[in-house]
Symmetry: C2
Subunit: 474 residues, 2 copies
């Protein structure tokens, strides 16, 4: 690992991001356009995120399953808005088994169509409802301007799909899953988010309502973390998904889909928490929570034995520990590397420490060091990890609050938006004409809030129907 | 769920298999050639299998990661035998992002080529070795004669890939992972296996040695459960994967790949353990270990409350319990359904049982029933589950032993092989001419054993070099 400094995170965030991804061995360029290799360190982070959410998906009554990767092209075309939205991004299989296919197959960009086709086979009566399924998989959407984790031609996600007898039940489902995503972001990733509905032009191709949760990077740009959709009944109609309701009448079910956890969350963690020294990973999802670095010691030494004992004891209480016993790398270089990789706590132990029954505990967040008695580690380490988790959220909240502007008129905040990024709460008349005016500023309506603090539209003189958040997106 | 009987498992195994897969809601036909939808019950089984093996993969020093789904066509062509082996099965993406691609991309049939391409970037010095990675994903191999779980155009698996400085280390790795697969099969799936090397003609396209583990279905046909490969150095040469060894000389690393856990294991569980009533699932991987069926009771009744209490108590000790509280289905129909789905234990509880503080425990394996005091359940249930797990392995071992023939000459066992299937241990001179003679009997060399009990070849008069197992494959 080279010791070259990272680009300045304050003045050159974009380059900082691109370099840290590779230097911290999160990803590597793949030999396929817009694709990356997700390396073990990032995949372990993803598995931790996945495990948190998967348990909640199951606890809320959903079942995992697996639908095919390849979807008949005609399926995608059944729902008019859906094909309009996804057509330019599709990867298409035209040949298989040595022959040209009669009908091309698309590599799933999302699975609504093939899942709805199956739902139509399974849903005959109101007794078959609700159906609540989820799958963890990858999807492909051809990308011209890829950026690791934030925007790649193939990415990893979960997609939940449900069918309900009533609109109310479906809407409650879409909202409940959005709450789960927010819980994941705030309480595990230490990322404060803004949540609301997408505008008509920004919502999912074929949805009635798209709920979104958005975070803001250190450079003030917005990142859509994920979405949860109350789908229009068009999907049910397109796939002839009818059931007999409790009164014996034929009805169309109400559908949802929610895909709020993607490998983009790794990008959000990098961009929200990183600093000039590299990554800073939230302890609750960090692949390594504690790294032990021996100093002036060799395999077989008492220092090594004690380090292994500490490792074992910490692991017994569920802490993820790595003992960095590499012999050809000096301690200083190890410190640098684990700082770059954002490991929350580093324990340094050498012969002098051993003699005093102590270790040095270095905290990643503020680069502070503290001497701790080995006998106290089992109490101290979990407390320090929790404190760091809490502090990371507080700092991210403070930063978000600092870039949150409430200014009524685009004419008043347009220049600042263009120069400094950030988020701008204002009112909106809901017209597309006004929304289009944001284009000049390379900004978009990130979401419609539940509040109505503003009385007139940010762009025209009509009354506001909804507060919105405006920002520039990744 | 219809109450129609399953086809006779003894006389019509093939139809029995095809029906139980759908009746037990393990899979459904997908609208894509040779593909299935893996339904929640089967996916939960797969997750349990995956969790067992994934922990072992990590414990043996491997890291999970993710390589792209799409592979440049030229990569597949770099290793001559590899392209020969996979070419007829490939699904090919020719268009993406609305344009024809300059170079087609294949949907991964397996990932050696793209992973080796990346290894070549990462391996510069002996210090970079070993590299030991694994990914859980799906692969696509176009199938003309699909059969759910056993042979599908898309299937789910893990593929481990490693690079080592020496041949010995690589061989030890390939063998170690085969032992992990055997452990999984015997100690979790209750499936006894036969293990050995594949013949030259049956080994993986581009391997030096392919280790295999094979099970035998109730109809006496062999099923390749999975394989572990010591790859030839051709892959390293093709991808220019050179490193500086400890003496400063350039060398090619020795590679392995092992893909021993696939959704085919679900097929093996169905086919090895099923009976006339349906599935019989090994308790250690069953998605539901205990189902509680209330009898003559309604929601809010004391029976319901007691059933929920039992469920909670069993779950506290880690048992997977389902309380079947559906009101519109009679207990008898529930019994039938959970038998069909192979749930190891069924608890029946009604008002009379409650009055006596007891439940009826029905065991799936032999359809026996026993009255158990509720106070004794926490001791009885885990013991019964373990006993069933053990008994399933013993029975499968007995069945395997019963179809294991040791007969020296094909002329003596050819007719029996054709009529009864089964496995035949014999000697082999290792010539391909003799191997080809098995074709007439629709049989193949399943594997080369480590033993040398036979002195002459099964087909010619030359000395045997290895005992082999002959059988008909799925």
């Amino acid at each position: 690992m080279s010791n070259q400094k990272l680009p300045d995170i304050k003045t050159n965030f974009s380059d900082w991001y691109n370099e840290i991804v590779f230097k911290a061995e999160l990803a590597d360029h793949a030999p396929v356009r817009g694709c990356i290799v997700v390396r073990p360190y990032a995949w372990a982070l993803w598995e931790n995120i996945k495990n948190v959410l998967d348990a909640r998906i199951k606890a809320t009554g959903h079942e995992n399953c697996a639908f095919p990767l390849l979807i008949p092209e005609s399926f995608i075309k059944r729902e008019a808005k859906h094909i309009e939205g996804f057509s330019p991004e599709l990867a298409v299989v035209t040949h298989a088994g040595g022959k040209k296919l009669e009908e091309p197959l698309v590599v799933r960009p999302t699975s609504e169509t093939i899942i709805h086709y199956m739902f139509a086979q399974w849903i005959k009566s109101w007794r078959d409802l609700p159906i609540k399924v989820n799958q963890w998989c990858s999807v492909v959407r051809w990308e011209m301007r890829a950026r690791p984790f934030l925007r790649t031609s193939e990415f990893y996600w979960q997609e939940g799909h449900t069918a309900h007898a009533t609109y109310q039940e479906a809407q409650a489902e879409a909202q409940m899953m959005m709450q789960e995503y927010i819980n994941l972001a705030q309480n595990y990733l230490a990322i404060p988010v803004i949540t609301g509905r997408k505008s008509e032009s920004e919502k999912f191709a074929g949805a009635d309502i798209t709920y979104t949760y958005e975070s803001f990077m250190q450079d003030g740009k917005a990142l859509q973390m994920g979405t949860s959709h109350l789908l229009s009944q068009n999907f049910a109609v397109s796939f002839e998904m009818q059931f007999q309701d409790q009164n014996g009448k034929l009805a169309y079910p109400h559908l949802t889909s929610w895909c709020g956890a993607t490998t983009r969350l790794i990008g959000a963690i990098i961009a929200v928490h990183g600093d000039q020294h590299g990554l800073v990973l939230p302890p609750k999802v960090a692949p390594i929570q504690v790294v032990i670095v021996p100093v002036a010691a060799q395999p077989g030494d008492l220092v090594f034995l004690k380090a292994l004992e500490i490792k074992t004891n910490l692991e017994k209480v569920g802490i993820l520990v790595k003992f960095d016993d590499r012999e050809h790398i000096r301690p200083g270089a190890k410190f640098y590397e684990w700082e770059l990789k954002g490991v929350p706590l580093r324990l340094e132990i050498g012969p002098k420490d051993l003699a005093l029954n102590q270790v040095v505990v270095a905290e990643r967040l503020d680069s502070t060091k503290q001497v701790v008695l080995i006998a106290d580690l089992l109490a101290t380490i979990p407390a320090k990890l929790q404190a760091m988790q809490d502090e990371m959220l507080v700092r991210a909240q403070t930063r978000l609050a600092g870039m949150w502007n409430k200014i009524a008129k685009l004419t008043d905040f347009g220049t600042k938006l263009a120069q400094d990024n950030g988020l701008y709460q204002a009112g909106w008349c809901l017209s597309q004409d006004c929304e289009l005016k944001l284009k000049e500023h390379k900004a978009t309506v990130r979401c419609l809030l539940a509040t109505t603090e503003f009385t007139t539209c940010f762009a025209c003189d009509l009354p506001s129907k909804n507060d919105i958040v405006i920002g520039k997106a990744y």
